[in-house]
C-alpha cells in the first residue's frame, strides 16, 4: 500500500517531505497548476498548500479503485456438514471458541465429529487460532473444520497445520505441524523451524522413517543445547526398537545428565541391548534367594562399592550432598530406576503388590520405592494399581500420575467418594489431572460430585481457589450428569467475584447441555 500511496501522491508530494522553499516551485498536474498560476501574489508556501488541497479534493472526488487485476481466488465449496448460522448450536460453538477452555474446545470438536457436522463460519477463525496454540487439539479439530475451515486455513500461513489434513486425507497425519510434502520442505523446517516445529517434525519423521529421523538427529546433536537434546531423545519412547541402540548408546556419554538418564532408561527397555544386559549383570547378584527352613525368601543387598563401569551407564558414583539416601542406597536406587519393573516380577515370581510389600519390609525400601516410581511406564498398569493401593498412601504424592496410567473406569475406586471429601483432601487436581481434555469422568462419579458441587455454595464462598477448579470439574463431568444440573444458588451478600463464578458455572453447563442436546 505504501507504494500505492506514493504513486497516488505523485511528484508534488516530494517537496513537502524535504521542505518547501521558493526556489524549487513544485509542478502540479496541468489544470491545478494552471489555476494556481492565475492567483497573484502568492508566496511559495501558500501556493504549495493550495495545490495540495486541490489535489486532495480531486482525489476524493474521483474515487479511484485498485483495478481488480485478477479474479478473486476460488470460493470455498459448499459443505452440507457445516452448522448453519441459524442453528442453535452455532452461537454456542462460537461462544465456546471465543473462550479459551481447552476442555470445551476438545469436547465441541468431538461432539461435532460424532454428529458428522462441521464448525459454523462464526467459530472458524478462533478455532483455527486455538489449534495453532495447542497442538494437541489438532487431531480433534481437523476433522470438523469442514470445507470452509480448510479453505480459510489455506489463506493464513499461521494455520498451515490444518492444510495438510486436507491434502493427505486418509493418511495418518492429523495433528501435525507442517506438511511433509517434500524432502526440501523437511530440510528447510529442520534447519530453520522453531524448536516446537522441529520437535513435531522429528516425531513425524520418526513415525514414518525411523532411520531418517536418527540420521537427522545424529547430524545435529553437536549443535543442540542440552534441553533440546533431551526433548528429542524423549521422542524415542514411541516405537522404540533395537535399531535405536547405537544412537542411544552414544548418548550415554552425553554432556547432559538428563540426556544420559533418558538414554539409559530407554536402553534398559531393550532387553537385548548391551546396556540392559550390563544392568542385569550388576543388579542380579544383589537379589538372591535364601532358604529358611522350608520357606524360600528373596533378599536384596545394595552394592558394596561403586563400579567404575557405571560412569558409562549414566550412573553417578558420587552421592549428591543433600540426598536423603545413604551412599549404598543411592547406588541401588540408580540401578532400580533404570531397570524395567517387569524384570523384578520375572526374577522373583512375585506380583507388584507382593514386591511392594516385600520391599516395604527391607532395609532398602526408600531406594527401591524411589527407583520404581521413577521407572513406572504406561505399560505398567498392574504396578500403578499396586502403588495406588499401597498401605498408607505410600505413593500419595504421585497418585495423579499413577491414575493417569490406568483406564478411566479403574481410577474411580481410588478417588474420594464425595465432593466435600474431594475438596478437603486436596485431591481435586489429581482427579482432574488424570482426565485428559476430551475425556469425561465416569457417569456415576460425575453424578456424585456434580450433585456435591451443586450444593457447594458455602464452600465456594469461603474457598476462592476452588472456584477455578469447580469450573474445570464442571467441564469434565459426564454430559449425562448435566441434565437438571444447576449452579449453587446465589445469596444476597455474594461478592461480584463469586457471582461471576456462579454465573460462569451456569453458562458452562448451558453450553455443554446445548452441545449434547
Amino acid at each position: 500500500m505504501s507504494a500505492n500511496l506514493a504513486n497516488a501522491g505523485g511528484d508534488w508530494i516530494k517537496p513537502a517531505l524535504v521542505g518547501i522553499d521558493g526556489a524549487r516551485a513544485p509542478a502540479f498536474p496541468a489544470p491545478v497548476g494552471e489555476l494556481l498560476e492565475q492567483i497573484d501574489g502568492d508566496d511559495a508556501l501558500a501556493r504549495y498548500a493550495r495545490g495540495a488541497a486541490a489535489m486532495a479534493a480531486c482525489r476524493l472526488a474521483a474515487v479511484e479503485l485498485a483495478p481488480a487485476a485478477a479474479e478473486p481466488p476460488p470460493a470455498a465449496p459448499d459443505d452440507a456438514r457445516m452448522i448453519g448460522e441459524g442453528e442453535p448450536l452455532a452461537p454456542a460453538l462460537a461462544a465456546i471458541f471465543r473462550g479459551d477452555s481447552e476442555r470445551l474446545h476438545h469436547e465441541a470438536c468431538q461432539r461435532l465429529a460424532a454428529l458428522g457436522r462441521a464448525l459454523p463460519a462464526a467459530a472458524l477463525a478462533s478455532a483455527l487460532d486455538a489449534g495453532r496454540q495447542r497442538a494437541r487439539l489438532r487431531p480433534a479439530l481437523l476433522p470438523v473444520l469442514g470445507e470452509r475451515g480448510l479453505w480459510l486455513a489455506r489463506l493464513n500461513p499461521d494455520w498451515r497445520y490444518a492444510d495438510r489434513g486436507a491434502a493427505g486425507a486418509g493418511e495418518n497425519v492429523v495433528g501435525e505441524d507442517e506438511p511433509t510434502d517434500s524432502a526440501a520442505e523437511v530440510a528447510r523446517l529442520w534447519q530453520e523451524g522453531s524448536f516446537e516445529q522441529r520437535l513435531a517434525l522429528f516425531a513425524r519423521v520418526r513415525a514414518a522413517e525411523p532411520a531418517r529421523a536418527r540420521e537427522m538427529l545424529q547430524a545435529q546433536l553437536g549443535e543442540l543445547p542440552a534441553k533440546e537434546r533431551a526433548a528429542f531423545v524423549a521422542e524415542f519412547e514411541a516405537g522404540l526398537g533395537a535399531d535405536d541402540e547405537a544412537l542411544l548408546t552414544g548418548l550415554l556419554k552425553d554432556r547432559g545428565r538428563e540426556v544420559r538418564r533418558l538414554a539409559a532408561g530407554l536402553l534398559a527397555r531393550l532387553p537385548q541391548s548391551a546396556h540392559a544386559q550390563r544392568l542385569a549383570a550388576w543388579l542380579a547378584p544383589l537379589l538372591t534367594q535364601e532358604r529358611v527352613l522350608l520357606v524360600k525368601r528373596w533378599t536384596l543387598d545394595a552394592p558394596q562399592a561403586a563400579d567404575p563401569e557405571w560412569a558409562a551407564a549414566a550412573i553417578d558414583a558420587a552421592r549428591p550432598q543433600n540426598d536423603a539416601l545413604g551412599e549404598r542406597a543411592w547406588w541401588l536406587y540408580q540401578l532400580a530406576r533404570q531397570m524395567p519393573l517387569r524384570w523384578w516380577c520375572e526374577r522373583t515370581g512375585m506380583d507388584p503388590a507382593a514386591l511392594l510389600a516385600w520391599a516395604g519390609k527391607s532395609d532398602w525400601k526408600q531406594a527401591l520405592y524411589r527407583g520404581w516410581i521413577e521407572r513406572i511406564h504406561r505399560d505398567d498398569g498392574d504396578w500403578a494399581q499396586a502403588m495406588l493401593d499401597a498401605p498408607g498412601r505410600a505413593f500419595g504424592e504421585h497418585h495423579g500420575e499413577l491414575l493417569a496410567l490406568l483406564p478411566p473406569a479403574q481410577r474411580v475406586r481410588h478417588w474420594p467418594r464425595s465432593f466435600a471429601e474431594l475438596c478437603r483432601s486436596g485431591r481435586l487436581d489429581e482427579v482432574l489431572g488424570s482426565c485428559a481434555p476430551g475425556q469425561w469422568l465416569p457417569l456415576d462419579y460425575s453424578r456424585l460430585v456434580g450433585e456435591g458441587l451443586q450444593q457447594a455454595g458455602d464452600t465456594l464462598r469461603q474457598d476462592w481457589s476452588l472456584r477455578q477448579n469447580a469450573q474445570t470439574l464442571l467441564e469434565a463431568l459426564h454430559p449425562q450428569a448435566l441434565h437438571g444440573w444447576q449452579a449453587p444458588p446465589r445469596a444476597p451478600d455474594d461478592t461480584p467475584a463469586l457471582a461471576d463464578c456462579l454465573a460462569g458455572l451456569e453458562r458452562t453447563a448451558q453450553l455443554r447441555r446445548l452441545l449434547h442436546a
Binding site: G9, A49, A52, A53, V63, A66
Partner: protein, 446 residues
Amino acid sequence: MESALTAEQALALAPDGASAKAATGLASDRHWVSLGGDAEALWGECKGSGAKPYQAQVDLGALVTRCSCPSRKFPCKHALALLLMHARGGIAADARPAWVEEWLNSRRDRAEKKEQAAAKAVAAQAADPEAAAAAAAKREAARWKRIDQGTAELQRWIGDQLRRGLASFGAQQRAEWTAMAARMVDAQAPALSAQLLAATDAMAAGIAGAPAVIERFGLIWLLREAVVRRATLSPQRLADVRTALGWVYDKDDLSTLGESVSDRWIVQGQRIDERDDRLFERRVWLRGQASGRDALLHDYAYGGRGWEQQWLDGRAVEATLRFFPGSAPLRALALEQGAAQPAPRWSQPAADAIEAASLAFAANPWLQWWPLALADAIPLYENERWWLHTPAGRLPLALGDAAGWNLLARSGGRALQVMGEWDGRELRPLSAWRGEDAAHNWSLAA
C-alpha cells in the same frame, strides 16, 4: 408481546464481551424473583448483592433499559438477560408492576417536558425575536473571533511544517503537533484538534503516512482561507466550514436551518468507540427507504449513562430526521420515531456507490466519511492486507485481523453485501449480510 429480538441481536447490544457472558449466565428464571412483560416493556427482579433484588426493565420500543444495579455498563447484564430470556420466549405476559409503570411514565413525561422546553424556547424567541437574535449573534461573533485567531496560528504552523519538511518528523515534532492539537481545542475548533492528532498518529507510523498528512494539511489550509472569506460563502458552504471546524449546530439552529425528512429508515451499520475518559462515541448510519437519503446519527454517552435510543442493524424505524445543513448533508438528529421493525437491508452496485461518494466529496472536500453499502462484494486477504473485490475494482479495508478473518470465514469467498464508512482512502466495514435472512447478518465493528 411482539417477538422482538433474537438472542444474537440482544447480545449485540452488550457493551462488551464480559457483559454478554454475564448476561447469558443470568438468563435463567432461577436467578429472578419476578419476571414479566407486556407489549411495551419487560421487567424483572434479580437477586444481587444487596438485600433488595435489582429491578431491571426494558422499554421494548426504544430498547432503552434501566436497572437499579450499580453497574456502569449500559445496558447492564440484568437488562441484557431480560432480553435474552424474552428472545427465547421465556417471559410470560403479566400485569405491569408499579415501579415499571412509574418508569415508563417518567420517560414519557421527560419526552413531553423536552418538547415543552423546546416549544418554550421557540416561543421566547417569537416573543422577543430581536433580543434573542442579538444574544445569539453576540455568542457567534465571539466564537468566530477565537476560531479566526486559532486558524491563523494553525496556518502559520502548517507553513512551518511544510518549510521544514515532513521527512524530519521525530519525537520533538510529535510533542509539538500534539500541543498544537490542544491549542485547537482552546480555539473552539475541536474537529481540527482531532485532525492534527490523526496526522500525528499517521506520521508516527512512518513516512508512508506522509502523503495523507500533506493532503490533510492542504485541506486545513483551504479551510483557513474559507474562514477568512466566510462572509462571501453560500449558507451551505458556511455550514460545511462550521462542521469541518467541529462547530456543531444545536437543536434550535436546526429548527430553522435544517431540512426535515420523514421516512422509514433502515439501520445499515454502526460503530461505537470508547474514549479514555468513559466517553463513548457512536455513529449510526441510516438509509431512507423512500427518500434514498443517507443519514448519520452521531452522538456521545458519558460515564456509562447509555444511549437514549438503541439502533439495531437490519431493522427499520419510521422517523423524522432533521438534517444538519451543508453541501452534502449527512448528519442528522432523530426527532420523532416509531418502533423498530425487521426490514430488508439496502445496498447498491459498487460503481453507483463510488459515484455517489465522489459526488459527495466533490460537493464538500472536508467530509470525514461517506457510507458505502456495496452489493456483490467479496472480501479478500492479499499482500498482507484486507480488500473488498467488487465488479468496479478493489477497495482497501480498514479492518483488524480478527475481524478480517471472521469476515472471510463468513463469506467463504463468495459475494456479500458490505456496509462501511469510506474515508476517502479506506473502507471501514461495519456490517455485512447475505440475502435477507436475519441469521446472515453480522455486525463487524467490535
